[in-house]
């Protein structure tokens, strides 16, 4: 059984790595797993099974025996970009699979629990075809940012009220993008990838049978993308030149602090509320793509290209509110609301990286049959519109561009306790 689980996890990590995610607390998913997502992502002080690996690791200590969970989400973003003097262009149909797989167990009859999981932390992506470039020709804007994490987790019951947990996040991220590749100075970048290590500490304190509080701290994940390739369009004359070494600097996954509280007004009801602070201001500033080693001769001074994306994201506060009600032994229903301040400033809005959705409503249920849980949740991110208000300049080519975005996500998960 353990050998099989190892094979499954390794396969999922490999299969999931190229998948893009579109997430909406900045680039983070609002929750991981159908239970957390069904409650709007309010999960810091809520007992969890395997999904504690991606949430509050201290909640892994509530693992009573052994549990394996497999599932994920399917995310369908709907976006429209309107550039000055042009009509709106909708993005192409996209359905992103975001997998999750995890295993957790108590170590013998001890106070320790251990688990490992692989999951989509977040990302973003757009696919606008037939949008006019700055020269007025049909062109495309495309981006795909994906971030997967493999997370071994350890949790400890200090007392029957206090639990602590720690997770090591081994992350793999990839980025591809097209920035008007048919136009002058257009770029087609593929294959940028990076491995990274980060960590999360978590605590949970059960004040009494009704109230619990929890907190987590996540370190920053420094990402050094390389191994990519850039095709740069010099326009008539030189045409397109492929640079065989491309890298991206200063793109970082942020540190984060979360606090949460849960309340059980009766044995059947559970209410939860989280506040998170996400330090995007330190993570996403000016992202620079550097390309070198051109495949064909280029004039002196063009051996290395440097393309800056001034983004200067703002720190983000996220508020998550969730409720759960157990109808009977087999059915539990949930609902939630999540608000995450838009971290993208008006004056640096870039339609390649528009993580702008703020309001989410969620609903879900769990069907329990003997040792099996079948979890399901739907999440709707409401439309948010934003216009680039910055003055036009070489580093702000999207001045006056408007982006509109909403999305729907379906979460499913199956868990087996043994």
């Amino acid at each position: 059984m353990q050998r099989m689980l190892g094979v499954i996890l390794a396969a999922l990590m490999v299969l999931a790595a190229p998948l893009a995610a579109w997430a909406t607390n900045g680039m983070n998913m609002i929750g991981t797993g159908a239970v957390s997502s069904g409650m709007g992502g309010a999960d810091v002080a809520v007992p969890a099974g395997c999904t504690a690996i991606a949430g509050n690791p201290a909640q892994l200590a509530t693992t009573c025996n052994r549990v394996v969970s497999v599932g994920g989400a399917f995310l369908n973003p709907q976006m429209e970009v309107t550039m000055p003097g042009q009509g709106g262009v909708d993005n192409e149909f996209q359905l992103f699979p975001l997998p999750f797989a995890g295993y957790a167990q108590r170590i013998g009859t001890s106070r320790w629990s251990v688990g490992v999981g692989v999951f989509a932390q977040g990302g973003m992506g757009v696919d606008f075809q037939n949008v006019k470039n700055f020269g007025g020709a049909d062109d495309s804007l495309y981006s795909q940012v994906a971030f997967m994490r493999l997370a071994p987790t350890l949790a400890y019951n200090v007392t029957d009220k206090l639990t602590l947990g720690a997770t090591v996040f081994a992350g793999y991220a990839s980025i591809d993008y097209d920035f008007f590749p048919n136009g002058m100075q257009g770029q087609h970048v593929t294959g940028l990838s990076s491995f990274t290590i980060a960590g999360r500490l978590g605590a949970n304190y059960q004040i009494n049978d009704q109230w619990a509080v929890g907190a987590t701290y996540t370190t920053e994940s420094s990402l050094d993308f390389d191994g990519g390739e850039m095709r740069f369009n010099f326009g008539p004359g030189m045409g397109q030149v492929t640079y065989r070494d491309a890298k991206m600097d200063a793109f970082t996954w942020p540190r984060q602090v979360e606090v949460g509280v849960s309340f059980k007004p009766s044995p059947k009801w559970l209410l939860a509320f989280d506040i998170s602070w996400v330090n995007w201001a330190s993570a996403i500033k000016t992202v620079t793509v550097t390309a070198s080693n051109p495949g064909t001769p280029v004039p002196a001074g063009y051996e290395t290209l440097s393309v800056p994306f001034i983004m200067d994201w703002k720190d983000q506060l996220v508020f998550a509110l969730g409720a759960q009600y157990e109808i009977n032994d087999m059915w539990t229903v949930r609902a939630g609301y999540n608000y995450g301040q838009n971290p993208v400033p008006d004056n640096t809005l870039n339609p390649l990286f528009p993580a702008i959705v703020e309001h989410h409503l969620t609903a879900g249920f769990t069907f329990t049959y003997q040792d099996w849980d079948f979890d399901f949740a739907l999440e709707h991110g409401f439309t948010n519109d934003q216009t680039n208000s910055g003055a036009p300049s070489p580093t702000n080519p999207f001045s006056g561009t408007e982006v509109s975005h909403y999305q729907d996500t379906m979460h499913i998960m199956v868990s087996y306790r043994f």
């Binding site: 009573c64 009859t109 106070r111 007392t159 029957d160 049978d209 044995p267 032994d329 003997q370």
Partner: protein
Amino acid sequence: MRRLRAMVGLAMLAALALGALPAHAAEGGIHWLDYAGAKAAQKKQAKPMLVYFHLPYCYRCKEMKNKVFSQAAVIGKLNAGFIAAKVDVDQNPATVKLYGSDYTPSYVFLDPGGKQVYRAKGVMGVERFLGMLDYVESRAYERQSLDQFLKGR
């Protein structure tokens, strides 16, 4: 004056009644014994025994405590018809080994003669737990599964 006497009388009767009740009932809960105590009690009383395996920090055990073991019907049924043993699996490795039950929460039932007759695990609701107690008490395990028994009720 007559009313006062009546009230004092009633109060005395109530106090006597409370005093006559076993300590566990006065505490309002299940009369849990440790495993050795339960085995000793079973030798004196011809009752089936529930051996409940738990951990103090097991979330699902807390769920059973809050949702099931706190219910009057469960408390009454267990106290009246069963000997109830509570085994902390971390503190009682010998008992865990004896029954091969380190899963929490889990339940092992012994007949009045001390023979293991039924076992179950996991969180369950009040109805199913009470049904399981009826199932063991009526010896229905000799002829059908718990699910068949519950469907036929």
